[in-house]
Amino acid sequence: MRIPILKLHHYLLVSIQVDLDDQTAIQFQEDLLNKIHQSGATGVVIDLTSVEIIDSFIAKVLGDVVSMSDLMGAKVVLTGIQPAVAMTLIDLGIHLQNVPTALDLEQGLVKLRQELEE
């Protein structure tokens, strides 16, 4: 399974709408970094509105992809984390502290513009 990555001007947009298994998550990490490299995108929004569960492994993959993209020079914002997912992550002890987040895709794009000072 591959997660589609869309390009919009200087940004990449991703909406995760499948139940992520480990392999899909790792593949996505690789695909996103390659796409940043090819497209020269400066910002990425990963929308998680349809994601019903994030366990410690998926959280690690998402947190890592934010740091990896940062190393390459692209800012990533995670958006649309569901209330149940937020509660579960804190129960697990996962705080994703250095990960920029926003309520929805629209706010995510606003946040990217602020972070990139465009």
Partner: protein, 134 residues
């Protein structure tokens, strides 16, 4: 009461186990937030089996508390892997032998209402966790 089980041999079985857990919680009218907690706990338990042992099972059982007329879901994660040498250590936050986030077992304990673990070196590990409907 009858048990339903998922055998954990490959990575995809982790997803299968949490799907079954979510179905069972829905049948018991457990709320959506607790469904997410249960599915996440199952994911952590199933991943432990997948990473550290040859194979194991995750079983589900609907239970009832006779005094309070409460229903609950009991999850039994069992393997015949190497066992855990020092249980108090794996129950510490931040402890992980796989280089993961270490959220594993203490995280599962926080997600569920009750949590018991029995492990014997060389024989295997059994985790029994329960979530009650509210």
């Amino acid at each position: 009461m009858s048990q339903s089980c998922v055998t954990i041999n490959q990575e995809w079985d982790i997803v299968a186990a949490r799907h079954m857990g979510r179905e069972k919680s829905k049948e018991l009218n457990i709320g959506t937030v607790d469904q997410a907690r249960i599915a996440t706990a199952i994911s952590e338990l199933a991943r432990n089996i997948y990473l550290y042992t040859e194979s194991g099972t995750i079983c589900f059982e609907a239970i009832e508390d006779p005094h309070h007329y409460k229903k609950g879901l009991k999850i039994i994660a069992k393997d015949e892997g190497p066992g855990i040498k020092d249980i108090s250590k794996v129950m510490e936050d931040g402890f992980s032998t796989s280089g993961g986030l270490g959220a594993g077992l203490p995280g599962v304990k926080r997600l569920m209402d009750s949590f018991d673990i029995i492990s014997e070196e060389g024989k295997g590990t059994e985790v029994i966790a329960v979530k009650w409907s509210r």
